[in-house]
Amino acid sequence: MHCGIVLPRLDEEVAMSILRSATKLHASVRQCARLVTAAQQQRRGYADMAFTFASPVTVHYEAAKVKQIDVPSFSGSFGILPDHVPLLAVLKPGVITVHEDDATSKRFFVSSGSVTVNDDSSVQILAEEAIAMENIDAQAVREGLNKATAEVNAASNDQAKAEALIGLECYEALQKAIEG
């Protein structure tokens, strides 16, 4: 950080401490700003969730009103309710459950993608591949799981190994989805 002010030598230490407290102040201002936005969201009350869920070739939901969405992410599965705090996340292979209302819910298997919750309470989930649970072929999953395990052991370098491990994780998630 450059102030552009020439300071006498003696005052240098004082100036540094001022600068340091200034950066601290900046951080706390940011913190405050965050609290304010959180407060604003609470005040808005129960808003409708505009939920968009799409893959590159299909739109499953477009600005739809739903009750809750359960999403698989790297930090574990989490639920999104209306008025969720703004959030960015990426998906890992797993099941997305969309609770449309109290009675009905739909389950999709997603490969990967992004989750955005905006401050206007709109939610966007963009998956590279999203398929309905009933379209999974259990036979193909079992075969793939065996093949993927073999591939992990056969991988010759770090990169191939990592790719094989990703594959194995994905098959395991698919297997879990069918069983659960």
């Binding site: 591949e129 379209n135 999953v141 770090d158 990169q159 990592a162 994905c170």
Partner: protein, 57 residues
């Protein structure tokens, strides 16, 4: 950091691998149409100092 990032992969590659697997696990009647989504035709040519550089591989 995740193991695949350490191995030099990025999330787009991660996503591609998973998406391909999910497509393979579709029921047979849907699998063929989905397999088309694996395909890509685009090829890249790097440029340096105003000239294309032939691929290093």
């Amino acid at each position: 950091m995740t193991f695949w990032r350490e191995a030099g992969l990025n999330y787009v590659r991660y996503s591609q691998i998973c998406a391909k697997i999910v497509r393979q696990c579709l029921k047979a009647d849907l699998r063929e149409a989905a397999a088309k989504r694996n395909e890509s035709t685009v090829k890249a040519v790097m440029w340096k100092d105003g000239k294309p550089v032939p691929a290093a591989k």
